[in-house]
Symmetry: C2
Subunit: 281 residues, 2 copies
């Protein structure tokens, strides 16, 4: 584990960390904010933030406006990268933004040439939690998860497939049904092949149809988000949650788009929502 950078912020410490990942057979970089309470040695809850297409750990770290609320509530905030990177890691053949580098989609690829490195599912659900739990003052019995767009898809699917692990789940403008939209069809087809049964395990709406459950979900999405109709389709999550009896709070935020201006506007509310649930007994 190598500390790439370390900056005092909001009374705590913002770290960027690089480590050799066994899951992805590559170096991986993530950021972690340690609030003042963790700096004082107290074990604190962890909120995971999974980022969207084209992002690294840096986007939310620099633009997310997450630290003030994390310091207030005493939350550790971890932001992984969105794909493996580095020499020998294959990219989209055309270098497209929506597949390959920056677009791991939080799955373990089974298709060549991606199967060796593109194992973001194992990375974010096993390897990175182990590292964070062992190296930082993290209370791993109190975890929440959120994410944006592709990372909202990641947050929802990770939470739905790990019942009991997360006390709080939210998302910003998530892709809720990747099997039904162009971004998701390209990614799931490319990483997992054409067997649609494998796709269902990485599709929040399909997982809910197949019986997966969380107690409640908070989702914000902007009404001026240019991806809302063709890629995000929040109404599909609304329908599946209604059928399944999942308490979904879906807020269509008037005039907001898909950018970090939208995310940073609602970040503090999401973190308060997580903190309330992470504090309970």
């Amino acid at each position: 584990m190598e500390i790439v950078s370390e900056n005092k912020a909001h009374g705590g410490r913002q770290l960027v960390v690089k480590h050799a990942s066994a899951a992805t057979s590559s170096d991986m970089t993530f950021s972690i904010f340690l609030p003042p309470q963790a700096e004082a040695g107290e074990k604190r809850p962890v909120v995971w933030y999974l980022s969207g297409l084209t992002c690294t750990h840096a986007n939310v770290t620099e633009k997310g406006e997450c630290r003030a609320a994390c310091a207030e509530h005493g939350l550790i905030f971890v932001a992984p990268d969105t794909s493996p990177r580095g020499d020998g890691v294959p990219d989209d053949p055309q270098g497209a933004y929506d597949f390959g580098l920056g677009a791991g989609f939080y799955v373990d690829a089974t298709q060549e040439p991606y199967a060796r490195n593109y194992r973001m599912w194992t990375y974010v659900t096993e390897e990175l939690p182990q590292l964070v739990g062992s190296e930082f003052a993290a209370d791993m019995t109190r975890q929440g998860i959120t994410g944006h767009s592709m990372g909202g898809h990641g947050a929802l699917t990770v939470a739905l497939r790990h019942p009991g692990r997360f006390r709080s789940v939210s998302a910003f403008a998530p892709i809720v049904a990747p099997s039904q939209v162009p971004w998701g069809q390209k990614a799931l087809g490319g990483y997992l092949g054409e067997d649609r049964a494998a796709w269902r395990k990485h599709d929040a709406v399909a997982l809910i149809e197949d019986g997966a459950r969380v107690d409640e979900i908070l989702v914000d999405v902007g009404t001026s988000d240019t991806f809302i109709e063709n890629e995000l389709r929040p109404e599909l999550l609304e329908q599946s949650c209604a059928k399944a009896g999942i308490d979904l709070t879906l807020r269509r935020q008037p005039g907001y788009d898909h950018s970090y201006y939208f995310i940073s506007t609602f970040m503090a509310e999401h973190l308060r929502w997580h903190a309330e649930r992470l504090k309970r007994g």
Copy 2:
């Protein structure tokens, strides 16, 4: 005036604007945040933020965490660029980061080849205020000014030389006495020549020695700022304010560095400080 980008944020609107500047004989880009109150048509106070070396309008716009507080207090927040840019604008001969592009130092250059374009003093004190006052819902009778590093120098010197224009003045890690430090000596020498009398008008400590006054100043600087001893020298401002009877609140913030992690930590407090003074009578 061309709107480069427009994003809803914190109930208001973040604009990036490009315009042909007569002052700098070049296109100039700035950002302006219009809080919800201004969006509703109300004229609101303006806080100017002058950025530091290497920055454009974008750094504070993306990383400054200024919008939540501006929305709360109803402040318009304007962030100009730090130099002219574009075809034909001369840079430092060696392309150094501390002179030329990204390093205008908020002076009107008298030396060639800089005199035509490097007129950031006129730009930030005359041209841009006129544009903002005429194009946006800005209450120009209520202005505050702040800045970071080179921009802290700019904020202090602009305020000291415009008595009565600003109701509030603050700075993050400002260069307080450019005549006495390497960054400032290079910049003032390069833009203004070797006549040290001309330098004194662009040196906050010298201006105070020469009789310029503001009522009060808020300054934050990190104790782990690597520039504090050789470039910023806050003790010189402390001494000159003490002698002059200027009410300086200088806070040495333990462990903070020179980055936007420092700035964003204290941004909300600075904006509250400005808002309190801008609300008065």
